[in-house]
Amino acid sequence: MRNAFADEMTRLAQEDPRVVLLSGDIGNKLFDKLKAVDEARFYNCGVAEANMMGVAAGMALSGLRPFVYTITPFTTTRCFEQIRVDVCYHHAPVVIVGTGSGLSYAELGPTHHSLEDMAILRTLPGMQVLAPCDSTELRLALREVLKGDSPAYIRIGKKGEPAIHAQPPKFRIGEAIVVRPGNDVALLCAGNMMSETLKAADILAARGVSAEVVSFHTVKPLDPGYLGGAPERFRLLATVEEHGRAGGFGSAVAEWFVAHGRQVPQISFGTDDAFMHEVGSQEYARRKFGLTGDNIAARVLARLT
């Protein structure tokens, strides 16, 4: 996804003279093409994320459209106060992009995991929270946030994520995309867990359960049309995210139903209330937290019978 990000940012910089990219000392050579477009619109802000976020807000308040890019914990939890005060309080149209989200950098340990980012950022007034499921959605998300004038956070993976969409889908902020229609259960996925979610749907289909698979690329604002219709259409909802269950996408969906006086059985798939103290690959970490197609299908089946 990060290569798609660099490529799409280069295109956006060519098309829109307001676009500026700020990077926190990562992406060596990744942005060479963007720099070739206009060297004055790329800034390596060093290992100083609090300042980088304030600088981005100052640029946005002066009519530019800054995108801030670094590894997710450092562009979210590290500088949360700058996001709250400089970006959101001023409603400055800064786009924050976190790379290596969730357990993408499992091997690097919990300092580089990001399992809290959506939870904290969706508490901020005016902030949009997006979790595209593949590179195609990421490219569309970058274009859509640039059309608006609100702060946005986009969490992306690293590289090598499977392509989900063969053709670019219709993409609007706050409108979920049905990836595979179904009518018994709905599997709602936010972000990079889409291939495991599709695998769960395959397993369920083999067991005679029709699962609808949906890309909830926007966690804030949620899609009220989709959620509003869900209780009549499905016996069960499952939310899937590579993020802590506390406060993330699953929590947001549950809050939505409570706020609207609606009820629907829900299972939230996400990481536990725990740091991972042993090393391991992303696949290992996903297995540890039950974030596999097999486990999702098994728990959904158990709930239905």
């Binding site: 300042n51 304030g54 600088v55 100052g58 640029m59 946005a60 002066s62 530019l64 005060v85 001023h90």
Partner: protein, 274 residues
């Protein structure tokens, strides 16, 4: 050198208004306001290229009161400069208004460039504005007033390093160096000295000045930009509570509210009729 007397008269009048408002509305940080009001006076009435009739002009100079707790001083200065009617300040401290302890966002009060109050935010914001001016080829300058206590914040030094690396010469920091922070001497809390040398070591052009000498302040502000690509830091040596003998260098006035009798005594010292 222009006649400095009108600026001195303005600063005296502003001090009286700040003290009266603090007493009437129970607004704290009075001594912090009195230490920076001379700096604000020189900036707004001599240096800044701003037009109250067009507060969002793309070419305007930007001013950020990074020490946001000095807002009671800034509110008086902006009214005096004509950004809004002075009568608006009659509602100071009222529920539902905009005038209290810290600046609101630019969308809620003309003349404000950034909502500050949490320290260490104004310089990164100002650096972003200064870089935006360069990118958009607008020849404006950006000024930020910081407190010495605020220089405790790491984000100040992050911004200082990036500004030097990017050779952002249209950025000017003025440190209101009154030697106090909320609960103690700034040197004892965080060993700030030598403050001007710190800025120089971070790649800035730094100069020290008497922060209550209006002519000296004006002279140093007019020497900016440095001309060699370095951003500028003016270390303004000030006295907390300056202008009222019983408030000067007494840190109790960080939070204390003056009684009506103390307001009368202060105005008498300032030579302002009661």
């Amino acid at each position: 050198m222009a006649d400095i007397a009108p600026l001195q008269a303005l600063a005296r009048d502003l001090r009286a208004r700040i003290i009266e408002t603090s007493s009437r509305t129970g607004t704290p940080h009075l001594a912090s306001c009195l230490s920076c009001v001379d700096i604000l006076t020189v900036l707004y009435f001599s240096v800044l290229r701003v037009d109250p009739a067009e507060p969002r002009s793309p070419t305007r100079d930007r001013f950020i009161l990074s020490k946001g707790h000095g807002a009671p001083a800034l509110f008086q200065v902006l009214a005096k400069r004509g950004f809004y009617p002075e009568a608006m300040l009659d509602s100071y401290g009222e529920d539902g208004g905009v005038f209290a302890e810290h600046p609101p966002t630019p969308d809620h009060l003309a003349g404000i460039e950034a909502a500050t109050g949490s320290l260490g935010h104004g310089l990164p914001l100002g650096l972003g504005m200064a870089l935006a001016g360069r990118i958009q080829r607008q020849p404006y300058n950006v000024y930020a007033v910081l407190s010495d206590g605020e220089c405790n914040e790491g984000s100040v030094w992050e911004a200082a390093m990036l500004a030097a690396a990017q050779r952002v010469s249209n950025l000017c920091v003025i440190v209101d160096f009154n030697k106090w922070q909320a609960t103690g001497r700034s040197q004892e809390v965080m060993a700030l000295d030598p403050l001007a040398d710190k800025w120089r070591a971070f790649g800035w052009s730094a100069v020290e000045v008497d922060g209550h000498d209006l002519a000296a302040l004006e002279r140093e502000l007019r020497r900016f930009p440095a001309g060699d690509g370095r951003p500028t830091a003016i270390i303004a040596h000030t006295i907390k509570g300056k202008g009222v003998s019983f408030m000067e260098d007494d840190n109790n006035w960080h939070y204390r509210i003056p009684s009506p009798e103390e307001v009368v005594a202060a105005k008498k010292e300032l030579g302002i009729a009661a």
